[in-house]
Point group: C2
Chain length 384, copies 2
C-alpha cells in the first residue's frame, strides 16, 4: 500500500494534544488523516485532512468513522472497543488492537494480565465494589496502607488514592477497583517500546519521571534517566517483554517503579504516544510520534537514541485560575538556552489541566535539568 498518496487514509480516534503532535508528523510524510473527536474545539481540528465530530465511546460513531479509513489508531484509550473489534473483523487495521485496549482499559484486568504473563507488578487484590474493601480488611485479607485504584477510566491521577486509614476510604466511588500494595520506590521510570506490524522492535532510552506531589501528574521527564546501567537494562527488558506479551503494534509506554531494592515493577501502560516521550521531539533522532507512524504503517523504525539530553516540563493550569488561558512569562523562558514551548491550543485553563509542555535540550543533561527548574519557576498558566 502506498501511504504517500491520497488514496490511503489514516484514522485517529481523539483530537487532543497527542493527536495534534502526531498530525505534525503526518504532515511531514503527507499522510492523509481523518480525526474523530467530540469537541469542535479539539487541537486536531486544524492540521487533519478531515475532522469528524463524534463521541469516542459511542459504537456507531467509532464504527462509521473507522469504516472510512485504512488504518485506525488512537491518541486516547477511552474509546468504544466493541466498535474496534467489529472493524478488525472487517479488515480495518486497528493499532493498538481491540484486545489490548480491552485489557488496558480496566486496571484490574491490566494487572491480572501482568500476573498471567509473568511480568513484575506490585501485589494487589481485585474488588467488584469499593464497599467490599472494609470487609477484606476486617477479615485480615488486606492490610493498610494500600493504593486504591478505580478499575475504569483512571487518567492522570484521577481514580487513584493512597489509603492509610479506614477514613481515607470514605467518599471514594463505589466501583470496581483494586487495592495495590504500597511499594516504596526510589524512582518512577518509563520506557517507550516501538514495534511495527512486521515485528521489528526498538526501545527509547529509560526516562525518569518526577511527579507533582499534589496533582499526581508528571512534573519533569528526564531523558535518559540518571540510574545505574543494570536498572536501566532491567527496565528495558521488562518493557520489551510487556510489548511482546501484548503482541503490540505501535508505541507502548511502560511506566514502572524502581523499588528500594532496585527491582522494577510495572505500574501501568499506555498503548500510544505518551507524556513521557514528548522530549523525543527535540532530543531524539526520531520523535515518538514519527515512530508511532512508522510502526503502524509498517515502515522501518527510526533511531531511538538521543542527540542531546532532554528534560520535559508539563505546563498545567495553575491552581486558582479558570478561564481564557494566558501563558505568563512565556517570553522569559524562550530566552533560556535550548527551550521550546509547545502550546496545545486549548482556549480554557483550569487547575492542573494539561495546557502544553516545554522541552529543554542540552549537551549536558544536568544543565538541562537546571534550566527546567528555571522554566518551572518562571512560567505560569493563568487566566485573563
Amino acid at each position: 500500500m502506498n501511504y504517500f498518496s491520497s488514496n490511503f487514509k489514516l484514522g485517529i480516534l481523539g483530537g487532543g494534544q497527542l493527536g495534534k503532535m502526531l498530525l505534525n508528523d503526518t504532515r511531514k510524510f503527507d499522510i492523509y488523516t481523518c480525526v474523530l473527536d467530540s469537541s469542535n474545539e479539539a487541537p486536531c481540528k486544524i492540521a487533519s485532512n478531515e475532522f469528524h465530530l463524534g463521541d469516542l465511546m459511542n459504537y456507531d460513531a467509532v464504527y462509521n468513522f473507522g469504516k472510512q479509513v485504512d488504518i485506525l489508531t488512537i491518541e486516547i484509550e477511552n474509546v468504544n472497543v466493541d466498535a474496534l473489534e467489529a472493524l478488525e473483523k472487517e479488515g480495518i487495521k486497528v493499532y493498538p488492537a481491540s484486545k489490548t485496549l480491552r485489557t488496558i482499559q480496566n486496571k484490574a484486568t491490566q494487572k491480572s494480565f501482568y500476573v498471567a504473563n509473568n511480568l513484575p507488578t506490585a501485589p494487589f487484590s481485585r474488588f467488584t465494589y469499593t464497599s467490599e474493601i472494609n470487609e477484606a480488611i476486617n477479615q485480615g485479607d488486606l492490610t493498610l496502607p494500600f493504593v486504591w485504584k478505580s478499575a475504569q477510566f483512571g487518567y492522570d491521577g484521577t481514580g487513584v488514592k493512597i489509603v492509610k486509614t479506614l477514613e481515607d476510604l470514605e467518599g471514594l466511588p463505589n466501583v470496581e477497583c483494586i487495592a495495590e500494595t504500597l511499594v516504596p520506590f526510589k524512582n518512577e521510570l518509563a520506557v517507550i517500546v516501538v514495534r511495527n506490524a512486521s515485528g521489528d522492535t526498538k526501545t527509547f532510552p529509560v526516562v525518569e519521571m518526577e511527579f507533582h506531589p499534589e496533582a499526581n501528574q508528571v512534573e519533569y521527564v528526564i531523558c535518559p534517566a540518571r540510574i545505574p546501567d543494570d536498572v536501566a537494562k532491567k527496565a528495558t527488558e521488562v518493557a520489551l517483554k510487556t510489548s511482546e506479551a501484548f503482541n503490540h503494534v505501535g508505541l507502548l509506554a511502560v511506566e514502572m517503579f524502581q523499588t528500594q531494592n532496585d527491582d522494577v515493577l510495572i505500574n501501568e501502560v499506555a498503548p500510544r504516544p505518551h507524556n513521557s516521550g514528548h522530549q523525543s521531539i527535540e532530543a531524539s533522532y526520531t520523535s515518538q510520534f514519527e515512530q508511532h507512524l512508522r510502526a503502524i504503517l509498517d515502515l522501518p523504525l527510526g533511531r531511538t537514541d538521543s542527540k542531546v539530553g532532554g528534560v520535559m516540563v508539563n505546563l498545567v493550569g495553575a491552581e486558582g485560575y479558570t478561564g481564557n488561558v494566558v501563558y505568563e512569562n512565556i517570553e522569559t523562558i524562550m530566552e533560556m538556552d535550548g527551550v521550546t514551548p509547545h502550546i496545545y491550543g486549548k482556549q480554557q485553563t483550569r487547575p492542573f489541566r494539561k495546557m502544553g509542555h516545554v522541552t529543554i535540550v542540552n549537551e549536558n543533561l544536568n544543565e538541562a535539568r537546571r534550566i527546567a527548574e528555571e522554566v518551572k519557576k518562571s512560567i505560569k498558566v493563568i487566566s485573563e
Copy 2:
C-alpha cells in the same frame, strides 16, 4: 501583544512547502495563521487556520488579505510589493519590509545594493534589454565568458545562463538583465541570519551547497560546511553585514561563493526560510522556521548551533516523469540511519520540481554525507 491567543493573526503570503514547514511551528506555538495562495492544492491549505485563495501578484488580493492580519510575512518573494507598502503605511507589520523585497526582486537592483553598501559581490554590468549585450561586447565594455541573469523573477536557476560564446545569447529573452563576471569558485556557501524586531541577531552555521550540474538546483546542503575557520568567519561576517544593511527582520539567507583565493562574494539573498536551512529542523537546536517566527514576533531568538551533523538532499522530480507522484524506494531510505523524509504534498511531479527533501543527521558529518549519497542513489521521484 499576546501572540499566544486567537486575537492575534499572522498572515503568510504563499502556501508552498516553506509555508507548510513554517505552519508546523506555528502549531507548536498555537499561533493563529492566515495563508494566501493562488492554488487550491497548496500544501498550506491544511495546517493554517484560514486559507484564502488569491493571486500573490495582485494588489487588491494582497492588500485585502493583509488588512486582516497583525503581522504579515512571506514564503516566496514574488508578491505585490505596492500592496505591502500600502499595508505598512497603515500600521501592519510587514517582514521582510516592502523596501527590502523591492530591492531583492530585481537582481540588478539587488547587485547595486551590495555595491552601494560595500558588500562583496562579483563585478557586473546592467542592461535594460538583453539585446544591448552584443553592442557592449563589440565595444569592448564586456568580455566573454559571463553569467547572464534576468533581472526579474529568477527562481531556482531559471533566468540564469552561462554565456561562453555569442551563440549562447541566442534565444535568451529580451529583458532587463545583468552580465556578471564568471568567478571560478571552490564552494557555494550560505549563512542564514536571523534578526528580531528588537534588533537581536544570530547566525546559523555556514553551510556548503552542492549543486546539480544540469538543473542548477541544490542537490546537497552540508551543515556545517567543511571549510577553514577563517573562511567560515568571513562568510558569517558578510552575512551579518548584509542583514544589517537591509535592517532586516526575520530570516535572511545569504548565498555566497568561496573563490579560489578564499574570498567570499555574495551571490544572492532570500529574505525568508530557505532551502539551505531545511536540515535545521533535525540538526539544529532551533529550526529556521521557529527562528523566523521568533524573529517576526519579536520573541527571544533560540540557539542556532547544531545538535549533530546534518545533510539535506532535495527530492526533485526525475527527468522523464510527469504526472501523479510516486516516491520510489522511500521505505529503503527510511531504513537508513538518521534519515527523515519530508514530503511536501504536491500531487503532480515534473522534471526537477521540488517535491520534498530528506534530512540525514549523524554525530559524524562525513557519515551523514555518505548516507546522503545512498539516499540520493536509492530514492526516485517518478510518476504512476
